[in-house]
Symmetry: C2
Subunit: 203 residues, 2 copies
């Protein structure tokens, strides 16, 4: 017989994670108390600390969930068929879809970059850096083959493209204030982001 966890405990961990994700994205780490997370999920604070031994452990679990979700998107897309242009387009679309699915994801990553750049750098270095370097290398190859613009700076382009994909969704709310309020639905942001990066990338 396998050890049988309390049937309630599996959904409870997920419920805590979901509540914490939303509150951390909305109010940040320092702006979110364990008490308020516990209230939202219908527990006392010590009970919450039974599922996650500390506030920082809960933060890490939230980030792990997001990054493992993102890590599932990238390999699937980079193995796809087609030339470099097709693969770039598909990668951008899948990445933006991942963030569009749940806007908390982009906001949480942005917050983590601001709050804890070194810690996030390590995490990114471990999981995403290999894919980024592959991307950078394919840009260099594309320049040699003449499909990619000669003036393009591969490392800087990758950094800016990542910033664009993140920013488009995390900052959409504030953008509404910059312009004429209405319009600017996520779809238009997504299509223009793709058009801009493609225009800047390919000959």
């Amino acid at each position: 017989m396998k050890p049988q966890p309390n049937p309630e405990s599996v959904p409870m961990r997920a419920r805590i994670l979901a509540a914490a994700t939303q509150m951390l994205a909305e109010n940040g780490y320092e702006g979110t108390s364990l008490q308020r997370i516990a209230d939202k999920v219908g527990l006392r604070k010590p009970s919450l600390l039974h599922h996650f031994p500390s506030k920082d452990a809960l933060r890490q679990a939230v980030l792990d969930t997001i990054f493992s979700g993102w890590a599932q998107v990238l390999p699937r897309v980079l193995k796809s068929k087609g030339d470099g242009q097709d693969r770039f387009t598909l990668t951008m679309r899948e990445t933006m879809n991942f963030f569009a699915e749940d806007k908390d994801r982009a906001r949480l990553i942005l917050r983590e970059i601001l709050d804890n750049p070194d810690g996030l750098s390590k995490r990114l270095g471990a999981t995403l850096a290999p894919w980024m370097q592959r991307f950078t290398a394919s840009l260099v190859k594309g320049k040699d083959a003449g499909t990619v613009r000669q003036e393009l700076d591969p490392e800087a382009f990758v950094a800016h493209t990542a910033a664009l994909a993140l920013g488009a969704f995390a900052l959409a709310d504030a953008a509404r204030g910059l312009l004429g309020d209405d319009q600017l639905d996520p779809n238009r942001l997504q299509e223009e982001c793709l058009r801009m990066t493609r225009a800047a990338l390919f000959n």
Copy 2:
């Protein structure tokens, strides 16, 4: 005789503002206590609250300083001579220089967008929105004249360009983890950002 403020008091207000700016950019609003600001500037907490009546008032003063600085950059540049392409290039350069001068600026604005999107929207709407709408309008005109790409989505382009200019400097630290650590000095980021937006903008 004009009322003569205590000669110490003018630099003290500025010293508090400078310390608060740096600490709010680094740790965020909830992550920065009045006590630590007071310590850094060599005051007791109640004395700090004599210069700024509340923590929120201090936050607003910090943001006011940044936005009035930015508001000085934009009109100067938009009145410059040259065609639309020259003006776009100059505007981007001046904006990026403004953020490069002090990286706290971009980080602080990004944090404010995340923490308080509605409040920031109002502030942006009051000061920056007219300039943004002028920019958007000139994009529409450029499309009619054939200098600007037909496929360009003006509102979305403006939003993404702003996100790029902000992100390039606020996220530079984390970007170092994504790529091969070294290299990626601000200058390269700035030049590539300009190249990308120009390539996406003009025929």
